[in-house]
């Protein structure tokens, strides 16, 4: 368990964090410049707060009152940076075992062969970082951090430098780490879609303050959190129950989703982008769309030039539509409406924990 209670003055704002993270995987979400990276540097020991305390599993990492400031190499934090930061003069294998070799053999939890298999690094092992693609580099950086047998894995937007295809390829590896290696993870990202594929536990950071902390589904609709999510491509998050590989149950409705590997009866979250929802007055005929959710219009708001229609479908859904569409459909609060959702615009999220 990570306990942080610190203050640090930064040029534009003061980072002021007082939080306890009991979950194994916590995502830190926030716009750029909100203090996310600084917070990670404070936890890893690369930077120190002005005052306060950082405690991880009963080890005091930093305490201004007790005058403790453990050096980064003594903190056992695996840090995956935004840019891979592989050592250019070492091969992939040498990079992977750099930290492993420094670790007391009795405290090693993972062997290079295991991690090389898990991250499928075999074909790259003798190459130098300059001969790797962005995604490959990030996988090596991930393996290098894991091989230090960290107590906590800290990841600072590890996928930010990659394009969507590569992201989609790396996320399964991250999920593997989460499920198989049992290392607590602190994951920084400004992409809700990315976060939801790893965890439902989120800490929202803005201007150095924690706006909200807890279950994503609980906090997503808070009025101070919502605008942040909207600015980054709002995701509707719905709790559902798995029926089979391609179907889930939402309230009394059955939704068709992209293939997912969770067992039946598992409670999971699914994510849908606001601009992937089509509104219709009538149930669809002659359309390929499988999913039609009936609901009631709650509200129509304009936020940063976008028209958002909120619909009550049991949980609140936000749909982004054009001005013209709102006029044409003559939408008013209280109107019954049907939300149409393409199967492949549904993202399968984490289990409800």
């Amino acid at each position: 368990m990570l306990k942080i209670n610190i203050q640090k003055k930064l040029p534009t704002f003061t980072l002021q964090i007082n939080v306890t993270c009991p979950y194994s995987v916590t995502a830190i979400f926030g716009p750029s410049g909100s203090g996310k990276t600084t917070l990670l540097n404070l936890i890893s020991g690369l930077d120190h707060p002005d005052e306060g305390e950082i405690i991880f599993d009963n080890t005091v990492l930093y305490s201004s009152t007790q005058n403790i400031n453990l050096a980064p190499e003594k903190r056992c934090m695996g840090y995956v940076f935004q840019n891979d930061l592989l050592f250019p003069h070492l091969t992939v294998h040498q990079n992977l075992v750099y930290g492993y070799n420094l670790k007391d053999p009795e405290q090693r939890k993972f062997e290079p062969t295991t991690i090389i298999d898990l991250l499928e690094l075999h074909p790259l092992i003798d190459r130098y970082p300059r001969n790797l693609s962005g995604g490959e580099k990030q996988r090596v950086a991930l393996g290098r951090a894991i091989l230090t047998s960290p107590q906590l894995l800290i990841m600072d937007e590890p996928l930010a430098a990659l394009d969507q295809t590569l992201k989609d390829r790396i996320i399964p590896y991250l999920r593997n780490i989460r499920t198989h290696l049992n290392i607590p993870i602190l994951y920084v990202s400004h992409s809700v879609a990315e976060i939801l594929q790893l965890t439902g536990q989120v800490m929202v950071l803005q201007n150095g303050q924690i706006l909200a902390h807890g279950d994503f589904f609980e906090i997503a609709h808070q009025t101070n959190v919502l605008p942040l999510l909207e600015a980054h491509g709002f995701e509707n998050v719905l709790p559902v129950e798995v029926i089979d590989e391609t179907h889930v149950k939402y309230n009394t409705h059955t939704l068709r989703i992209p293939p997912c590997d969770r067992p039946a009866k598992t409670q999971i979250f699914i994510g849908i982008r606001a601009n992937d929802i089509i509104l219709s007055h009538k149930p669809p005929t002659g359309l390929s769309i499988r999913n039609a959710l009936p609901g009631k219009v709650l509200d129509i708001i304009e936020s940063e030039g976008r028209q958002l229609v909120y619909i009550d479908t049991g949980k609140r859904l936000a749909a982004e539509v054009t001005h013209e569409a709102i006029e044409e459909l003559n939408l008013q609060p209280g109107d019954p409406i049907i939300c149409l959702i393409k199967t492949h615009s549904i993202r399968v999220g984490p289990n409800v924990e």
Partner: protein, 225 residues
Amino acid sequence: MLTTEEWDILTLSLRVGLLCVAISLPFGIALGWFLARHHFRGKILFDSILHLPLVLPPVVTGYVLLILLGRRGILGEILNDWFGIQLAFTWYAAVLASAVVGFPLLLRAIRLAIENIDPKLEHAARTLGASPLHVFITVTMRLAMPGIWVGALLTFARSLGEFGATITFAANIAGETRTLPLAIYTFLNQPSGEDPAMRLVIISALISLGALIASEWVTRRLSKV
């Protein structure tokens, strides 16, 4: 091919050059790292003083050394009275003279090399469990290696060409401090010295050229990484 006298001159020159590099390297690496990674008040002044021997006439550098370290010099007197060490007019003086004159070249090369290393790589190494010293050796020094090599080779080459500071501080003593340039100068002052001088000129040119080619080769080879 070479006469015994020429051979002595050549080996003395090489000996002076190698020892000069050996004693300057630790200082060059330490100061290069310090200047690359730290900011402090008066850094420009400090840096300028370190670079002074590059622009001062070498004779002036030699004279300053003589004032400081000569037998009656401020430090020289202490060395002589307390430890019985006399530097001036020995081949160690020739080493020291070329070390001081060549130091800015070494420092500059190493400092630039270290400045070009992303400090975040060092941070990453720390989070992987490496102590600051281990990081310095396995990351910083290793990545600065091309710069260190180039600095060392340039200092060596500069030492082979050192004349002014050496003749002032170490004098021109055959077999002791008469390095290549001093020997050439001596031959040129003798009535029939032009031919032996020319042989030394060729040797001198070849070694210097070799050092420069080696430095270029090292840069290309190591900077590929």
